[in-house]
């Protein structure tokens, strides 16, 4: 059932220059696709969160189980495991291709930084099996010195509540 109380999205403003955000997201996707996981981790702030909900429209990571809800410590562990030769679920390694598109800036919700909404398609090939993931990214990006950093990354998978095989490669 559709939620009748929800608000119709507004046509995004053309006044915002999206190029810096698009460039950042494309760079992030490339780091992940090519396995530069430490460099990917370095894109996050110290107090960053990385969240993959398990329910559509899941409002809260603390009242409901999620597929992933990482603070910096868990994210570091995820990355450390990805670089470990004994991560058996990545032997052989997945090959991935991420496409990031439909980039818009979300209305200001009073939080620091800018929340950028985008669409992604992730193709993962491993062990003669190709998996397809798609969904919406929300990146809350903040400035740290001259650089842009991720304070929050939320990944809404279209099939978040489907039976999934192990998830190891970050979205």
């Amino acid at each position: 059932m559709l939620d009748k109380t929800r608000k119709t999205p507004r046509l995004p403003s053309t006044a915002i220059d999206l190029r810096p955000y698009e460039t950042f997201l494309i760079h992030e996707a490339r780091l992940l696709d090519e396995g530069y996981f430490d460099d990917w981790l370095a894109l996050f702030t110290e107090d960053a969160r990385y969240w993959v909900p398990i329910q559509p429209n899941q409002a809260d990571p603390f009242e409901t189980v999620s597929l992933m809800y990482d603070d910096r410590r868990l994210l570091e562990t995820r990355v450390r495991r990805l670089s470990d030769p004994r991560i058996y679920s990545q032997e052989p390694r997945s090959r991935t291709s991420r496409t990031v598109t439909n980039v818009t800036v979300e209305p200001d919700a009073g939080e620091p930084g800018v929340t950028v909404r985008s669409k992604f398609v992730l193709v993962e090939y491993r062990r003669e099996d190709q998996r397809l993931f798609a969904g919406t990214y929300f990146h809350r990006l903040v400035g740290e010195g001259d650089a842009m950093r991720i304070a929050m990354k939320k990944v809404e998978l279209v099939n978040c509540d489907a039976p999934l095989d192990g998830l190891v490669v970050p979205f």
Partner: protein, 455 residues
């Protein structure tokens, strides 16, 4: 070969030579799966759901168990029902929502309306039928043949003549008590069920859950991480004036062994861990934090007061001995045929079922005391997802291991392949059991499995 005592096909046992083997065919052959459905899944009590999933009168959810689609509902009088989700008219799917609240279910195909107790309430073309037609019980949604609960855990049985759930659970009941008693007001399922589609036979996951030997190899990367977290945490705890020696002592190999030995000696069957009816369990002293009533230096000291307080309240409620048992030990209980309850980094309830020999659907839930604070709930979810979720740091490597085994079984019929489950049958050094465990609990499962298959 002639020394081997042939137990029914599928397993073979040679006690005098300490050999216990399982044929690889039982994981690949559709004939075995067909027999399992008929002789095990249609005869045994199967976990269905938890009482807390139906919080109010009119609450319902739909769930697939043993390959059948059911409605789990609490009717207007508070009675719980498990009904086949199939219209008695022409077989339309009556309830198509995952969960919700409703006083009636209307089949969208031709509009028949059923109550939350399953009784037929309304036929749109009632005049086309004889007087009182809809009041016949047979017109109502079909209830599962048997539905019983123990301490909030609801089970179904497709065999109307089955023994009671109470008797079936046998020695597993105290383990369910130890979970149910973690709350003063009632345990509740945390929203967000997890499902996995795994390319392996259901028995491989059940085996993995009782297998002590895979832990140090498959999960190395996880243990390195927890060691590091504990080390950092210890410094943090000491900086805030918390003495950590007691935790060092608990985590020492020697103490762990003593604790494990003591835990084993407390089980009814000592080393066999056999709870009867194919169920088994094992406990060991936890060397990590437990979201119910055991703080650990790997956790922020801010959580300590509440966890210590929960422990004190537990002692007041159930006595010190049982309180220690509940809060300071990790518990794994496997209920035949396909339910695992793991109480360590959180409480996980997991079932698995195959509709094809080389595939299974795994369903997984987590259970928590309904009254715990938001802070502890937050800690619990971190702790649970760390290891046990589909994207956790433990589960994907387990999946990899069993999927690899399943793929390897292809062609095993060419050389009459058997899996070896002999560890502990005839140990040259019996103390190795206390150090490393053995495969005895897997044999508890396989022996019962063979008994059902050849009944």
């Amino acid at each position: 070969m002639e020394q081997r005592i042939e137990t029914p096909a599928g397993i073979r046992v040679d006690q005098s030579n300490g050999l216990f083997q399982v044929s690889r065919k039982v994981f690949t052959d559709p004939e075995f799966l067909k027999l399992e459905h008929e002789k095990i899944f249609e005869k045994c009590w199967l976990y269905f759901g938890h009482d807390s999933e139906l919080p109010e009168r009119g609450s319902f959810l739909t769930r697939t168990v043993a390959g059948r689609d059911f409605i789990f509902s609490r009717d207007s009088a508070g009675e719980v029902h498990v009904l086949y989700n199939l219209c008695t008219h022409r077989g339309g799917r009556v309830c198509r929502e995952k969960s919700g609240k409703a006083s009636v279910f209307q089949c969208f195909y031709h509009g028949w309306v059923f109550g939350s107790d399953g009784a037929l309430r309304l036929i749109p073309q009632e005049g086309a039928y004889p007087e009182g037609y809809k009041n016949d019980r047979e017109r109502g949604l079909v209830p599962v043949p048997r539905l019983e609960q123990y301490r909030g855990f609801w089970f179904i049985n497709l065999d109307a003549n089955a023994i009671s759930l109470f008797d079936y659970l046998a020695g597993a009941k105290p383990y369910l008590d130890n979970i149910a008693d973690q709350s003063e007001v009632g345990m509740a399922i945390v929203p967000g069920a997890q499902a996995f589609q795994v390319d392996a036979n259901w028995k491989l996951w059940h085996e993995n859950g009782m297998d002590p030997f895979h832990v140090n190899t498959v999960h190395q990367t996880y243990f390195e991480y927890s060691t590091d977290v504990a080390k950092i945490g210890k410094e943090r705890a000491q900086a805030s004036g918390i003495a950590t020696e007691v935790f060092d002592r608990k985590a020492s190999a020697e103490e762990m062994m003593k604790g494990r030995y003591a835990a084993l000696m407390q089980t009814a069957t000592k080393m066999k861990l056999d709870l009867g009816n194919g169920h088994m369990a094992y406990d060991y002293p936890a060397n990590h934090g437990r979201p119910f009533a055991q703080w650990h230096p790997s956790w922020d000291p801010k959580y300590k007061p509440e966890l210590d307080q929960s422990f004190e309240r537990l002692v007041a409620r159930v006595g010190e001995e049982r309180a220690k048992r509940i809060a300071l030990y990790d518990h794994h209980v496997l209920i035949f045929p396909n339910l695992a309850i793991v109480d360590n980094h959180g409480i996980m309830i997991r079932t698995y079922f195959s509709t094809k020999p080389e595939e299974m659907l795994v369903q997984s839930w987590t259970l928590a005391p309904a009254e715990e604070s938001k802070e502890i709930r937050r800690l619990r979810l971190y702790s649970y997802m760390d290891f046990l979720g589909p994207a956790g740091f433990g589960t994907p490597d387990d999946v990899e291991a069993i999927e690899a085994a399943q793929r390897g079984y292809k062609g095993a019929e060419d050389y009459d392949g058997w899996n070896d489950v002999s560890a502990g049958m005839l140990p040259a050094d019996p103390s190795s059991f206390v150090r490393n465990g053995d495969e005895g609990r897997m044999r508890v499962f396989w022996s019962k499995w063979a008994e059902y298959m050849h009944a």
